[in-house]
């Protein structure tokens, strides 16, 4: 009899001619939390999908509780006792939370009808473990991304799994929600349920996992035991993830930039809804961060500065002149474009070529000829590609052909031809791997060196600590504090500033609940 609940041996998977997995090994004993690490495209999700029966492996064998299995659909895997929380949600947007929780597994009552009463009772029970404050009569499309994530995890629990795969569950969550999730994971572990935790956030993996399995280029690169925290070589994990390349993800970027005059100045601006009385200044070449608990108005502030939402109170000055924003094009014309967090839906035209994507912003600016100068634009695009060391054989390839990290560079760099004065970044590194993240912030640092100011919101505070000169703290739509970044500052200090004072999370929850009822 085997000690492992899951054994995946020598898994190979080809998509057309592309090798996604080649010799992946994954062993998981019962009642453990295992971290599955690797860069984007290293095969973490592919491996999970093969275990889940979303598609078959080309080669290799899979054992569940010592028995050889080959699931042909997610339903079969679920029936056997495996559940997975996907990165792309499996929630149906137009149904309510409670309808979604047991979708496909509804208990039935008289005449084979859906037993809605029982469904609601069960739904509430499962939700109470993670998000007791959530109103389950709301439709999924009206929930925040983090609430959807919590519902998604609750839904996986309704399948009563013995083996649970969480694919980047914390990417959409803020710290306090991550803590609730970790507590749940520990409870599951006590019950003998094994959990696979996929995350790009190293500190979370260190905190919760018993050991980690690292994938690199579709192959298992190694396993590191974390049970004895004093004896763990974290550099070893990073080396396994990246291969031989050195990563400076945890080091602070040099801050020997010369700061110029104030470029952007907000005087108690508000949008009449989520942002109130926000004032700040940004100097030339300065990198300013925006931190806060989830949903304190950080994203809304970025959208407002970029012209998506109206400024209803206060005044925004750029170069000491008032900037009136009615449309994103006003912000772009003033040299203040927004780099959105979701490159697939907001940052790029995925089906268009690299060249189209990189020259698009330039075409928006005034004084461009009516007939677009193809040659000139090709020159701009290829210079940009050289500067960024983009890995692509042709600029006419669609951006979908780029790797995640390269595509993310394009999202930022496409604004460079219009010579931006202030670059707004809204969680640009969400869900990208360690190396790509380091590359991205290196690029941002270089842009700042050339005199462009950066205003960065990131949900991961380490990213702010990594690059910012100064960090603004947002709470309930206001800027409540400001800290100069230094070696003494760490995530814990920053977090406590974000929480404002002891017991704030209770109060926060109370207001959230109150908001539900209103």
């Amino acid at each position: 009899m085997s000690d492992y609940i899951i054994e995946a041996r020598n898994i190979r998977k080809l998509f057309g001619g592309v090798v996604a997995l080649n010799g992946a090994e994954f062993l998981c004993p019962g009642g453990k939390i295992v971290g599955l690490l690797g860069e984007n495209g290293s095969g973490k999700t592919t491996l999970s999908n093969i275990i889940m029966g979303n598609y078959p492996a080309t080669d290799g064998e899979l054992l569940f509780k010592g028995q050889k299995v080959r699931f042909s659909s997610p339903k079969e895997a679920e029936n056997a006792g495996i559940a997975m929380v996907h990165q792309n949600f499996s929630l149906v947007p137009d149904l309510t939370v409670w309808e979604n929780l047991l979708l496909g597994n509804e208990p039935r009552g008289s005449l084979g009808m859906l037993d809605n009463k029982q469904i609601r009772v069960l739904a509430r029970q499962y939700l109470d473990r993670l998000c007791p404050w959530l109103d389950m009569n709301r439709e999924i499309r009206k929930l925040l991304a983090s609430e959807q994530q919590l519902v998604e995890i609750s839904k996986a629990l309704t399948r009563n799994p013995e083996f649970l795969i969480l694919d980047e569950p914390t990417a959409a969550l803020e710290r306090e929600e991550v803590e609730i999730l970790f507590k749940l994971m520990k409870d599951l572990k006590k019950q003998g349920i094994s959990v696979v935790f996929i995350s790009h956030r190293m500190h979370e993996v260190e905190e919760i996992c018993d050991y980690v399995v690292v994938l690199r280029n579709g192959k298992t690169a190694g396993t590191v035991d974390l049970t004895d925290p004093d004896n763990v070589d974290y550099d070893e994990i990073v080396r396994l993830i990246t291969g031989q390349r050195a990563v400076e993800a945890h080091k602070r970027l040099a801050t020997d930039r010369e700061l110029g005059d104030v470029i952007l100045q907000a005087e108690s601006i508000g949008d009449g809804e989520n942002i109130k009385d926000v004032s700040f200044q940004i100097r030339k070449g300065e990198i300013v961060g925006l931190a806060g608990l989830q949903g304190q108005g950080q994203e809304e502030l970025m959208l407002t500065l970029a012209g998506y939402n109206y400024i209803r109170q206060g005044r925004l000055n750029i170069f000491e002149k008032e900037l009136r924003l009615k449309h994103p094009k006003n912000a772009i014309a003033a040299g203040m474009p927004l780099v959105p967090g979701n490159r697939q839906t907001q940052g790029l035209f995925m089906g268009l070529s690299v060249m189209h994507n990189t020259t698009f912003p330039k075409n928006l600016t005034k004084g461009q000829p009516w007939i677009l100068p193809q040659k000139k634009q090709a020159a701009i695009a290829s210079k940009l590609a050289r500067d960024l060391t983009l890995k692509t054989d042709s600029l006419s390839n669609p951006v979908t052909a780029l790797s995640g990290g390269n595509a993310q560079k394009v999202v930022v760099a496409k604004w460079l031809p219009i010579d931006p004065k202030v670059l707004l970044l809204s969680d640009p590194a969400k869900g990208i791997d360690v190396q790509s993240k380091a590359d991205l912030y290196k690029l941002v640092g270089e842009i700042a060196m050339k005199g462009t100011s950066i205003f960065l919101y990131a949900s991961d505070m380490n990213e702010l600590l990594h690059i910012c000169d100064r960090i603004l703290i947002m709470y309930e739509g206001r800027i409540v504090d400001e800290v100069i970044n230094s070696e003494q500052l760490d995530e814990e200090i920053l977090m406590s500033k974000c929480m404002q004072h002891e017991g704030i999370s209770q109060e926060y929850k109370a207001t959230a609940e109150h908001g539900e009822q209103a």
């Binding site: 679920e78 149906v92 509804e106 859906l114 809605n116």
Partner: protein, 320 residues
Amino acid sequence: MNKLRTARASALKNPVFLPAILLLSLVIINWILQPNLFRPAVFRINILTFSPLILVAAGQAIIMISGNLDLSVGYGVSLINCILASYMVVDPPDPLRNSLVLVLALAAAIAMGIANGVLVGYLKVPSFIGTFASSFVWLGIAIMVRPVPGGAVPRNFTTLFKAHLGPFNVIFLSIIVALIAWYVIRRYRVGRYIYATGSNMEAAYRNGINVKGITLMAFAIGWVFVYLGTLALTAQTRAGDARLGEPFALNSIAAAVIGGIVMGGGRGNPVGAALGAISLSIILNIIYFAGIPTSWQVFVRGVIIILAIGATVFYKRKYD
């Protein structure tokens, strides 16, 4: 106070709320122009005239909720109508044979729904194109069955639909029963899964829902409503005509949209579509009784429909 507020909030959220308000205002305008609107006889005649579109639109709505569209319901109506008028024996009526023809027509309707469902659900042809193509097959068969307009249905077929209890005729009651039937279907998995599939097919599939089968079921159930609508239509025309159903394809989609059905699927309610169909039909009444010159009537109708659909879309953006 708080209860009142939640009651108001849930009323605003109900997909039938706006179509009902829209219909109410159109009815009031109609009533001003035509004071005898609520006399039982006038009410009955109106319901009888509107009933085919009400039922076809409700069927279209179910198909649209599943995330699809059926452009072939128009010629489907034609084919069912031709089958009824051609194979029923009128002089003297043969009750047994005529009932068999009714069953045959129902089978034909369900078969058309299943064919479209296979085309769209299993063969993955986009419904817009797939049902456009199949509509000509239905038209072709209808022409084969009845090359020139004609044929007949028994008189008692018509009198049955016109029979009434006070202001409520049989057709009114059958519309109510058909819509209640949908509420029953919604209490079954099929009903919920039609919404789920239309809302996000990928997510529905991941939940183990047989999205192909559900798409097929949506078409089949929708076509039962199309069949009922054709019965109501044939009871009035009492003859078969292969071109009779033509306007129903686009009218039913317009009625569904006015009734709050979202084009992408997943949201809305056939009851809303039924109300939308009444709105669409009442507009014709209003134009007639307002004394608008004949040459202007089509133009005015178009403008009013744009306003109605515009109001629906605007409301959705604002409150939903």
